[in-house]
Amino acid sequence: MKKPFLSKLNTWVNERFPLAKFLVWSLHEEIPGGASFSYTLGSAALFLFMIQVLTGLWQLFYYVPTVDHAYESLTYLRREVPFGWLIHGLHYWGATAFTVVVGLHVMRVFIWGAYKKPREMVWLAGVSLLFLTAIFMLTGPILPWDKSGYWAAKVGLNIAASTPLIGSLIQAFLQGSAQVGQVTLSRIFLIHVALLPIIMALMVMVHLIAFRQFGSTGPWNEQKRKKTGYFWPDQIFKDVLVAFFILLLLIGLSAFSPASYTGISDPTDVTYAPKPEWNFLFIYQSLKPFKGQWERIGTLGIPMTILLILLSLPFIDRDEKRNPLQRIFVMSCGAIFVGFILWMTYTGFTMNADGVIQGQSSFYQQSSSQLTLLPLDSKDVEQRQSIAQGRKLFYQDCSECHTINGKQNGLQGPDLLMVLSKTPAPTRDWIKRQLISPQQHFAFTPMPSFNYLGEKDITSLLDFLQALSLKEPMVINPIPKKLSEDGHLESYKAGKELFRTIGCAGCHTVTGQSMDTLGPDLVQALSVRRPDRQWLKDQMVSPNEHFSNSIMPSYGYLHKDQITALMDYLETLEVKSYSPSSVQKVLSQEKQNENFQQYNGPLAQEDITPANRIVGEWEHGQVLYKQYCMICHNPDRKNIPSLTPIRRDLYRDNADDFVQQIDPIIQNGSPRTGMPAFKDPQMLAQAQIADIEAYILHVNGVDRTQIINPGIKPKKFFYMIGVIFIVMSVCIGFFCWVFSMLRR
């Protein structure tokens, strides 16, 4: 009789390769105490690792590791490739699940005492896998090169650079260039997708081979150990069942809670507050008590200590007892350790934007009894210089988290003017202590210590803040008040410089010719209106008093000397004679400001700008919207269309079409209505416009992250797999029952 084909193939292979032997070695193993669900964690980790490898590899079909296209390629993958949402979702949530499962696996091994002799090698390989996992988790989030990715790279590199002795070497290796940029991304990419997986796969093999050598540890109870089970198929059955439910969970998470889009990175944008991924929050939190030079104890010392403790565990704890009840000391150390990590992670989560734990005592309790700020005599030249230095320092070191305009901000730190105007106001001492050791006042504030600043610098900052609280902005260069040769005040030169630097020149020309600018040409305007100095001053401080719909911002923050200088400059402008038509134009432009016209559709320009191709982050768009759009687009301005809801003819159901409608308006503005062109690099970056667009879509009920081509819609796919599983289980159960009936 002829042998069946499969059996022949089996023989052929085994004559040439020890396949059967390998299978017997890897599968036929007795498990003391029988198979158990608590042993499925290791195989679940292996399963998740394979998912990560597969989905990671699959993402490379579309992802490109370049700073200008990484984010776009990922959004394309997630929105326009069939099942891209699933592949990315599985990788994203798989990483999270991997961290959790590995953590539980380590805990399980710890409780069972499975790291003890003769299984030290299994443990050591396992700890190295844990370490590799951490590097995966550090490098992965950088790759999309979105806001969180960019900052993860930036902060991560700074932490690596603080390593004693070899810090700069590590930074040079990872950064590869003068700044964090393309070469950095390439290197992180190489590490994440090539180096780490190879090392990880090798270590997994070592881990498994070492494990197979001595097999499962089994229960510590001798009585329970007498019963034995088999790896194949008993344990495998439980492993596969767990793996399946993990997969179902991951699909569910990808469908119902997809990863957020944080918008493309814009290094100049200070309105974004980076925070680490959840799995590193505990380090982020635990480094806070360490200040200045000592911070590296938190960033490097803590992780390294954890690694060393774990590595040396089987050599420190050499007691053969495995029953947790007989290892009280070791178990409580472990419990404290896990508790610490969980607690730190929890506090990291609950921290609000001000760096204050919710429910913590009020801001100024400690300082209420102390003296308030002393009035500052700003005529003192030395003090003025100090204030100027303080202002410089503020913009160098503080402005990333704090504003000084007296308004709520979306940043990590509070607005300082608001803080200073609270009663009782903080004292100089209090501010000084806050600068040097913020944790003294707020135990969990993310504010770093500025104790590296010298005494002089701190005084300067305090002077600056004090000057702020008097609402008297300081003058950087005192303006000389003497007459120049041509009879004008010398200060007109300073005024001319100010005109150029503070933004007047962005909207006004001084050529005497009608230009297509937002504001009127000032030579023309002055010759028509011939205003007095008081009118000019009012116009600078509160433009809306003269023209209720003017979009000119208020320059009330300027020092009175600066305003005087500007007026002096305007007086030097030669007022020429004009033809009636140009006068007419100026008047009509003013009139236009009075009667705001309804906007009539986008300007004819078919430029494809990057912003409408970037999927922005609406949360951040909201912050920007408040800063840039709300000045005009608010309910008080009756003549300016509201964006909530937007005009129906601009509205589209499809996110991409909707963006195509509003993008040209935001980009180019409209000279007719006086809306500025925000594509001007002085105004907004394309990444920021994309965020604002995402926000406008959001308030109009359209999701910018809408999936265009899902293959099968996420939720539907999840339900489908669930239903197939249930139907399949019922069928198998039914057939097995029928089969066993027939055999009887």
Binding site: S73, V81, F83, K227, V240, I608, F725
Partner: protein, 178 residues
Amino acid sequence: MNENAKTPDNKDKNIDRRNFIKIIIGGLSGLMALSLGWPMMSYVFKPLYQKKYQGFVKVSGFAFIPENIVTNMGFQFMQEDSFFKLDQVHHVWVIKHAADRATVYSSICTHLGCRVDWQVDWQKFVCPCHGSVFSADGKVVSGPAPRPMDTLLHKIEGGELYVQWEDFKSGVPQKIEI
């Protein structure tokens, strides 16, 4: 083996149980392979079949080219390629018959997609890769090309030429859009 597996009846039951488990393992593995494999395959193969309609693009300078002479004309073209939008320059061979009549050939060889060139001395299109030769009216004169040169859809409005760029499958006798 379990202790209670000693009696034949129990042994049978045990084998039944083990077979049952094996079937479930197989079923679950199959379901997992399906729920991953199918998305992964359509992820890789599906997007290939998506094509976006490209409209007519203006080829400037039609009014100024001489009549009945094969002329190379380039035009800028915004090519949408997945997440890239690229400004590309395409070349076409244009023969102007009259102010309102023209023949437009794609410059891509029908054999394996190289760019054919017009040999003025010889009055033939020649492909530099594998030596396909086409006459001025696009017919194959010699070489491996399986079909005549591809003409492109075009229109002439107000003295300006508009061309709709398309790619065709190479190496086959039929003109098939891709």
